[in-house]
């Protein structure tokens, strides 16, 4: 049965490729158009204008609300599907914070959960065809990373005072090497937010751009368009994975940085 459907679909793709072959099959690929920020009403964009960024962030907030608040509204001892997922997300991040940042990191759990839920929801909403992916923008991920960087640095100094600088002073290394290592550690500390933000935006952007490139091929290839369409399917599956993994990576790095702030000794 499945085989019949598969070949029927294949035949349909080939036939439709023949019938609807573009009159002038030119390669018109604009993979970056999908990242265009545009105002929902009018043309001018100032800092408060409702844009597609606003729309898709609002949808992400709504998705978080639907999953974690509406999903858990029945407070069932034996959870339903939505409540199971909500509890799974809660347990996943809670355990991550506890394991990586330590017991005293748990009071930052709501903060880290906020970051994770926003990123994971924005990533998954961005996988809807025709949507706008807020996490593909450096401006967004840089603010997320900067928030983590500032928080971690402030927490480090508040908790440990000047002792936080011990993070840069590798006491297990030979004395002569320590100043050199301190400079390297200091640079790596300030590079953290850069890699933290570009990793997320870069992964999401690259995947979406690849999808668009294949879509452009599909439009140009006529009856052979099924080849790039299969490729799109495969890349899309990978993007689903990436959407979750990048949210996970961002969150676990936040926990690691928090651990450094709470326990700066090497």
């Amino acid at each position: 049965m499945g085989k019949i459907f598969f070949f029927a679909a294949l035949a349909l793709v080939v036939v439709s490729g023949l019938i609807f072959a573009p009159a002038e099959a030119k390669l018109a690929i604009h993979p970056m158009d999908q990242f265009q920020v545009s105002a929902l009403f009018g043309d001018h964009i100032s800092w408060y204008t409702p844009t597609n960024v606003t729309l898709w962030m609002a949808l992400a907030v709504a998705a978080v609300f639907a999953l974690l608040v509406l999903g858990s509204s029945r407070r069932a001892i034996v959870p339903g599907r939505a409540q199971s997922v909500a509890e799974l997300a809660y347990g996943f991040i809670y355990k991550m914070v506890e394991d990586v940042a330590g017991k005293d990191g748990v009071k930052f759990f709501p903060y880290i959960m906020t970051l994770f839920m926003f990123i994971v929801m924005a990533n998954f909403l961005g996988l809807i065809p025709g949507s706008f992916t807020t996490t593909s923008h450096i401006a967004v991920t840089a603010v997320l990373a900067a928030l983590v960087f500032v928080t971690v640095t402030v927490v480090g100094f508040v908790k440990n005072g000047v002792g936080f600088l011990g993070l840069f002073w590798v006491s297990s290394a030979p004395l002569a090497l320590r100043p050199v290592l301190a400079i390297i550690e200091l640079i790596s500390y300030f590079v953290r937010p850069v890699s933290h933000s570009i990793r997320l935006a870069g992964n999401v952007m690259a995947g979406h751009a690849v999808l668009k490139v294949f879509a452009g091929f599909a439009a140009a290839l006529g009856m052979f368009s099924f080849l790039p369409i299969f490729a799109i399917t495969a890349v899309y599956a990978l993007e689903v994975l990436v959407a979750f993994i990048q949210a996970y990576v961002f969150t676990i790095l936040t926990c690691v940085y928090l651990k450094d702030a709470l326990h700066p000794s090497h």
Binding site: H30, D33, V64, L68, P79, Q83, E87, T134, H137, A139
Partner: protein, 175 residues
């Protein structure tokens, strides 16, 4: 589409919308709004509620486990009692069977002894009767012989001397 990109390229000074700094303020503003809203939703409603549900479930599970432990102990107890009752019953049954067997054996022995005695008595009686009958029969043979001899003698025309006949019969029957 192409014209759009062109416009963006002219307007933002870059083909990459990510590097169009004119939209940064807008994105950052709405990001902060979104994060604050999510943080409030999570810290005020969602996380305490989920934590409460999880704690409640943990409590229920702990209680249920304790109850299950109790019930298991009770089951083991009941099984022990059952086994003990079974062993008791088996011992009792064996005792009763042994008792009955000895009782029956005693009754049987008695009956056999009685029967033997009766058989012996009957046999003795019978022997006596047979001896009597045998003696009686001999006597009768003698009388019949005498009478027959007398009758024969008289039939032959002689006169039978009773004593002589009797002596002759006695003489003959001896042998």
């Amino acid at each position: 589409m192409a014209s759009n990109t062109q416009e963006a390229a002219h307007g933002g000074g870059s083909a990459m919308p990510q590097l169009d700094f004119s939209t940064f303020g807008n994105q950052i503003f709405w990001l902060v709004v979104a994060l604050v809203v999510i943080y409030l939703i999570l810290s005020r409603v969602a996380l305490p509620r989920i934590a409460a549900v999880l704690a409640e479930r943990q409590g229920t599970i702990t209680n249920d486990l304790a109850a299950a432990e109790d019930l298991k102990a009770k089951a083991v107890e009941a099984e022990n009692a059952y086994n003990k009752a079974l062993a008791d019953a088996r011992a009792e049954a064996q005792r009763i069977a042994a008792e009955t067997r000895t009782e029956i054996q005693a009754g049987l022995d008695e009956a056999i002894a009685k029967a033997d005695e009766q058989i012996a008595a009957k046999a003795a009686e019978s022997e006596k009767a047979i001896a009597e009958i045998k003696a009686g029969a001999l006597e009768s043979v003698k009388a019949v012989a005498t009478d027959t001899a007398e009758a024969l003698v008289s039939a032959l025309g002689g006169s039978a001397d009773k004593d002589a006949v009797a002596a002759a019969v006695a003489e003959r029957t001896k042998g």
